[in-house]
Amino acid sequence: MTSDTAPGATEQGSHIRDTSSSFGITPEQYMLPAAQQIRMLAPDGRLIPEEEQGTSPGHEYPIPEDDALLAAYEALVVGRRVNDQNYALVRQGRLAVYPSSHGQEACQVGAALALGDADWMFPTYRDTVATISRGVDPLEVMVSFRGDWHCGYDPLQYKISAMSTPLTTQLLHAVGVAHAAKLRGEDTVVLAMCGDGATSEGDFHEALNFAAVFEVPVVFFVQNNGYAISVPLSHQTAAPSLAHKAIGYGMAGEQVDGNDMVAVLATLRRAVDLARKNSMPLLLEAITYRMQAHTNADDDSRYRESDEVEQWKQRDPLQRMRTFLTDRGVLDENAETRISGKAEEVAAALRLAMTTEPAMDPLEIFDHVYSAPTAQLREQRAQLADELARNQEG
């Protein structure tokens, strides 16, 4: 325990001045978002020349190695298959609800692949594919969406918190995990995820402010998919972009094309790397689009035109990456067959699992509320056990 580490900035803004001067640029140049979204692949999958990628001088965004790109493509294909399989399972009544990330898979995959094993991820309800891409068994992730009372997977084993539903509350937990690691002298980076609408919540503000004041390595990753259920981003904020919000906290913010797998992975990797090296937070806004309704319970025809959705199909992250990797000679027919075979296996396992009734012990709902059940919970457990026994007899 390095108990002498002062958790607060000694001199206001000194950290950001030091960091920017290490890049040879001013704090303003460092903090202000790139003039436009960082984009490496054009919508047709062609690699954009470096000087047109939207990055600023002094900032390096190396294109990930071919192995990493192929792994990302595989996760994209599997993620898309999981999204579509779950969508179908909801329609068949096998799943209670599923907030799909169809169209946002590049963000989902990037979030998982940019982190190291000792790092942490704090996902929302929409980030199923991110948790799967980090290694959680899809069947474990789906436990809560099928109507069980717990989150399914072990958050400590995977270093992924339970997917959070109350908007942006999880961002503060992310700051706490990073702060605890920092106090122990560990260099854990925490990726904290939220949506565009969620940036209006108070905890978003508190989390960014705490992270900046305590100088902890948290990467705030905002998937701007245009809508919060029905409400477009223009009703959430008058800021020029969500990336701009970082500036007020003394934090760097930038934007990336969230449907460009290469750019998402490159910018997230750089953000994670900077956060780790400098022990400081960053905000990354990914511009993407929610291709389906908010959840199965939502009717998106009430608030958006189908033309809009059609236009975003032209920027599909999967097709773009496929073209790029094929042209680059990284993806051939063999790899394509292997990857789609794997996606089908995952989908088949999901179908099978969701058609089997889960084994649930109703009495377990009392067991974890406290480390040792109170007298009241023991009584209530006995009451339910008795009711269940009588139901079985009757």
């Binding site: 108990s3 989150c151 339970a162 109350p166 937990h173 406290y370 480390s371 007298a375």
Partner: protein
């Protein structure tokens, strides 16, 4: 359950006992826990250099450094949420809410996450954290500074709710709260901060630490059962109380004795877990009960206690159970608070109504 008189008896007679404030007991409990366990850290608003607006964290930053006791930006949700993240990652945070009513911005974090994470994760993620809240009135405080907010928290499964009424308990119960694997909301009656008892804190430390090491029983007697304590024995009526109202209940019991009525006083110590066994035992003994609490009475902890007596001890009762609580109003101004708070006179009036003619 403990139904003996004030614990621990040893501290009363120890040679090194000296007048000690409730505040000093809390402060020593934190520094002893920090000394023993590097994962214990303390934070909140003004708790660092200043030592807290009530000075409860006085000297902790100076002694343990800014990594262990520090000020945060002004944001209660942030304090609670960050504490939860730290508890997820190996720390035992003890956070201070500056006043009862200023903890409300943290309620979403506390209700939706701190209370539920263990359950949501099927027991895999436990949150050993303490949320300290100075609460209650009787100190001439203005609006937002005197709320008795315990019922809001007690209504939320997953939280433990402790509230000490003595200097000895201030030390022992805070130590147990910090060691608890479950999140504890620790309500400190602010009117008791500067009261003194003759206590030997180093003897308490030894007592607590050897109990924690050598026994599976909870070291301050709360554990999963609640650990209510009979602080005055009696035979005719039971005064059920907790936190700031225990001293009022004791004064009322002394006054009742002059009228020839023997009142037993039960200090609940913890609201969650709740000590049903101790409650039933005292009611079985006396057959009458008055529940005394500062908080407004409607849908309150006092209501719950009355309901439990009715459900579990109906056949022991010789009269209806009464409540003496605050009125159902926003906390009144300093000049009027004496009319709001449970008083000895009001308790004696309630006592008169307990159908003694039977």
């Amino acid at each position: 359950m403990a139904t003996t008189t004030t614990m621990p008896a040893a501290a009363e007679t120890a040679t090194a006992a000296k007048p000690t404030t409730f505040a000093a007991a809390l402060n020593t409990a934190m520094s002893d826990a920090m000394e023993r366990e590097a994962s214990v850290c303390v934070f909140g608003e003004d708790v660092g250099t200043l030592g807290g607006v009530f000075r409860i964290t006085d000297g902790l930053t100076q002694r343990f450094g800014k990594g262990r006791c520090f000020d945060t930006p002004l944001a209660e949700s942030g304090i609670a949420g960050m504490a939860m993240g730290m508890a997820m990652n190996g720390m035992r945070p003890v956070i201070e809410m500056q006043f009862d009513a200023f903890a409300y911005p943290a309620l979403e974090q506390i209700f939706s996450h701190v209370a539920k994470t263990a359950n949501r994760s099927r027991g895999r993620v436990r949150l050993p954290m303490v949320i300290r809240i100075p609460y209650g009135g009787g100190v001439g405080g203005v609006e937002h500074h005197c709320d008795s907010s315990e019922a809001y928290y007690a209504h939320t499964p997953g939280l433990k709710i402790y509230t000490p009424a003595t200097v000895t308990d201030a030390y022992l119960m805070l130590r147990e709260a910090i060691d608890s694997p479950d999140p504890v909301v620790f309500f400190e009656p602010k009117k008791l901060y500067w009261t003194k008892e003759s206590v030997d804190l180093s003897a308490l430390r030894t007592q607590y630490e050897s109990a924690a090491e050598n026994s599976s029983a909870p070291a301050a007697g709360v554990g999963a059962e609640g650990g209510a304590v009979v602080v005055r024995e009696g035979t005719d009526v039971s005064f059920i109380s907790y936190g700031p109202s225990v001293s009022t209940a004791l004064k009322a019991a002394a006054a009742a004795a002059e009228d020839g009525i023997s009142a037993e006083v039960l200090d609940l110590r913890s609201i969650v877990p709740f000590d049903d066994a101790a409650l039933a035992a005292t009611v079985a003994k006396t057959g009458r009960a008055i529940v005394i609490a500062e908080a407004q009475g409607f849908v309150s902890v006092a209501s719950e206690i009355v309901a439990r007596i009715q459900e579990r001890s109906f056949h022991s009762l010789s009269s209806p159970v009464k409540r003496v609580t605050g009125f159902d109003i926003p906390y009144p101004s300093p000049k009027l608070e004496e009319h709001h708070l449970p008083s000895v006179d009001r308790i004696l009036d309630a006592l008169d109504e307990l159908q003694w003619e039977d």
